[in-house]
Assembly symmetry: D2
């Protein structure tokens, strides 16, 4: 098949990153247009990535019959709407997470995709990290036997601005949502019940904004395994992203990627480098790989590796966690859905 012509919608931080990858590091992709409500953002991004067209209205991309697919990186509240329009226009769709905070809108968007018969891939990039993928593959290959315990540590190097916190949907829907996806991905089982404990320990302003910054979440899987996730908005040593699956025949552990491997031993101790700073550094490979996978599933007419349902379930989990935290009791996912 020919290269896949792609239009990018939303040239903010994550959009610019995807644009560069599509332009320079995904050989089978052909980035043909960039749209952003801020015309300058679209133009700058297009110029940097040598893309011929820049628009302020994303509909210009949807109207272009030469465009095969869109990559949606606009603000969360626009995702569902653009998905519906893109599906109607017959475009394949990559959409950043979350699809939406409203389950009814998510369902409408997924139904539109279904009707149109286009592909939809959700941006859970961590699945494409070589280490997490290797862990999942080892689990899938039975190397740890039956999974018993899943442990996920996920801590950011620092909190986002309070202004962002206020519109983020809360830690469970903004940050833990990635870990909810990871929890499902690692062992290929669904979660039945969630118990969440949270606290404001990093910054009281986060509490004033109605959110928490530290959380420990227990998951009960349908198949009997138990999971535990711990989150913090601030790890001074950098982005802390570790997982572990323990089972009847062994355990697989993924540790952090470090900035370099030089280790200094002196009279005081042995000193090594910090983890890679944040998601852009840690997940570069993963971001490229998810785009390659998206392009490949279009070219080869395969199912996307992260489906619309994979985008929906973590939102349900986020609401369950929130309800659990608020009511201080375990909450079944069936209570939300």
């Amino acid at each position: 098949m020919n290269k896949v012509n792609i239009g990018l919608i939303g040239a903010g931080r994550i959009g610019k990153m995807h644009a560069e990858h599509l332009a320079f590091r995904v050989p089978e992709a052909n980035l043909v247009a960039v749209a952003d409500v801020f015309p300058e953002a679209a133009q700058q991004c297009a110029a940097k990535c040598r893309v011929p067209a820049a628009f302020s209205d994303y509909r210009r991309i949807l109207d272009d019959p030469d465009v095969d697919a869109v990559v949606i990186c606009s603000s969360t509240d626009t995702h569902a709407q653009i998905i519906e329009e893109a599906a109607a226009a017959g475009k394949h769709i990559f959409c950043e997470k979350p699809i939406d905070f409203d389950l009814a809108r998510i369902d409408r968007a997924l139904a539109a995709v279904e009707r149109a018969g286009v592909k939809l891939q959700i941006g859970f990039n961590r699945r494409f990290d070589p280490s997490f993928k290797r862990a999942r593959d080892l689990v899938a290959a039975g190397k740890v036997g039956e999974p018993h315990i899943v442990r996920i540590t996920s801590r950011d190097p620092g909190p986002p601005p309070i202004s962002y916190i206020k519109v983020s949907g809360g830690i469970f829907l903004d940050m833990t949502i990635h870990d909810f996806d990871m929890a499902r991905y690692l062992i290929g089982d669904e979660v039945a019940e969630i118990f969440a404990v949270g606290a404001v320990l990093v910054d009281p302003e986060i509490g004033k904004a109605g959110d928490i910054d530290t959380a420990v979440i227990t998951l009960r899987y349908q198949g009997g395994a138990i999971g535990t996730i711990d989150n913090s908005r601030k790890a001074v040593y950098g982005y802390d992203q570790r997982v572990e699956v323990f089972g009847s025949e062994g355990a697989v552990v993924v540790s952090n990627n470090k900035r370099d491997s030089a280790v200094l031993s002196d009279a005081q101790g042995v000193h090594g480098a910090l983890p890679l700073f944040f998601f852009v550094e840690r997940y570069t490979e993963a971001y490229i790989a998810e785009m390659q996978a998206f392009v490949e599933c279009i070219q080869q007419d395969k199912a996307p590796p992260v489906t619309g349902m994979d985008g929906r379930v973590p939102v349900v989990m986020g609401y369950a966690a929130k309800k659990s935290y608020e009511e201080n009791r375990p909450v079944k996912l069936s209570e939300i859905d």
Copy 2:
């Protein structure tokens, strides 16, 4: 001060280990007598450790005015009674955990110790492990700042016999009790509320015996930190004993001690040694150190490093965890006590 004359009560597995340490590896201790309800066990232990006296009745030890202290390693149901008698006899006391499963009996024993003015140290050996101690010291020195999250992984290489499981008091009082102590020790704060999830994933016989073999426990500390413990009765790769304290200024992580440091790289991968097999191998140094500390607190008339109250609180926590598991809700420690 002179060497401390010690009588050992209970020459089972753990008793024999303590006897060897007291005889050969704690220079300031003078092991003068061994008692066990099975006379042969007492005699064999005494012979091996070159101890002059072996009795079937521990009261022979309590009656000996030359004995300064006793080390109680008999079955759990005898601990409280022997503590009371030893205290009445004016002996300092080292007692294996748990003191008892009955809080009222614990309280009576602690009151007897209080009245007699003798020292009582409880056998939470892990506190004396150099790595856990180092972690605690780093936390106490403020190196991780305010503690936010405590993570404890504690998995045995294999379950005990079902006959033992039946009288063990259940996983929370038998196995997690060590982790409850560790949770308090690491950050020096008390736990206010516990939520426990459990499952029978290792061996259905354990379920039939009324117990579980896999658990994840969430702790809410009084000071605001959150803890999480995961337990399994069977890790095929050996004894898995790791802790982590994450705080506002950093994190300290303790990993497993391996059997050797030889690492083989071949065409398939990089292969290292398993963790030390079980508690005897992993905690040898710690067991010796706790005896040294006990002898030292007698010689120097200091407070024991693990008090009677340190022995009582984890039992309360065990009951809270059990109740939480049974009722599937978070349980406050104040509900138990």
Copy 3:
């Protein structure tokens, strides 16, 4: 300053890699032309990297007044000649190592560069590896005190074809040359004497071709430190690239970068991933960084980070090692030069 217009000469394996980096990953570079004696190689490379011009004669690049600099990746025997011509044409020059196997020709090329006042950077890419750079920086900052011992392990995953071995100049000039550069780079001192031991242990065909495949080389630095390098043409576990600098105040050790961080513990042991396969995988970042540094030294009119003399000295060291191996005695660099 404007972007730097670059022409690439030699579109073989390493040339194609540099072309991709210049085209897509060094924003300040403008790759304007590719030349290769095989016209198709030039055209394919140009097409892939969206470069407007492809030539079979590199002189077309030298004649173009809009070209600021050339990157020479052609066969070793052409390097010196092209350097002289490029210098005469006023182009800045990046040249792959080695400059040449003939010291007189190297000197002529360096003199031409000197006369023309252009910049010349040699392709010792490992200097730009974040871990080795970090080690060098720690040494330069005095963190290990006075350097006493330098250890370099450098082993390839597999030998090149025998046809290549025959024209390679021998292991010391083809493979160890990188380690000779590293030895100088790490502690910023020159080597005075070399003793080399070698053997044919990997493949007897290499011996028949007049070369060896395994070597241990001892270096005596002018400042008193001692170095040791070990080389093998075949490490079945992958590319093994480690260094260590030991000094009066400590040591810094660089270990291998692994393919992923997933570690499996099972009943047999603890199993991790192999090192990254070979130089393309291990040194991607370093290759990009050396090009960025080259472009930057042109834009900012700075000295190149790897000079012509840095390209010459390791060739002298290679000859000293060869002579030492052949005569089984330590050889002073002054005997060669």
Copy 4:
């Protein structure tokens, strides 16, 4: 067989350590007497280890028909003489390294042992370290294929007093001698030729005493493999004891044992514990294991695991290294012997 009755000769630092192990940690040994030219040293050691007899004249031990074996820890210049006398008295012998600095005296001692038909084990304790033993076993089991390169790093935390340096026989016979043994042990092959480079970098006083403090030694094995040893009298971070065997099918690497496994991550980096301080800490297990092996070879009438010839060869290697260093050329072992 009965327990082995042992007399210890020489109650200095290493003698006291062996005495404690024999008394308390080697169940099949029966330490019956201690001799030292300083009567108080003998008495103190005997008292501490609850040994009934203490002598100033070791012949009292040799004359005792109940003594099965002697452990010789006296000063090096007395080893050969005592071996001869002990052999004549029919005692099995454990002797600290080196047997002597004089090859003729070594040969006389070995001949006396041969004639008497007693067992002689030399104190190369590192062979009994679990990690080095595991490396050797992996090599012997063919896990690394044919050995190609052996790397040994051996650095002390600090130099001995200058007074000791002066009578030590020089670094190669005092310190490297352990590494020469390790070089033979790891791959079970003999060394044919040695090249040694040395320097005085730690302390000029060591140079004034006629010795060096830093060395890199290259070994050519009879079977074709190449070895490299690096030594320093002072590693500020502690006792640095690492080995590596690289071969056709893989490599095995032994790293240092650390004081604890706690690792602190803070904003500056990741900080772990130093290696165990020195030989007493690092090799405790190995010292006990070598005594157990000695007792076992007597009880079971087996060949000792470290023979008299194993004690002789490293002395030859030490002289070859010394000659190589002095003449700055590779020296064949056949030149010495």
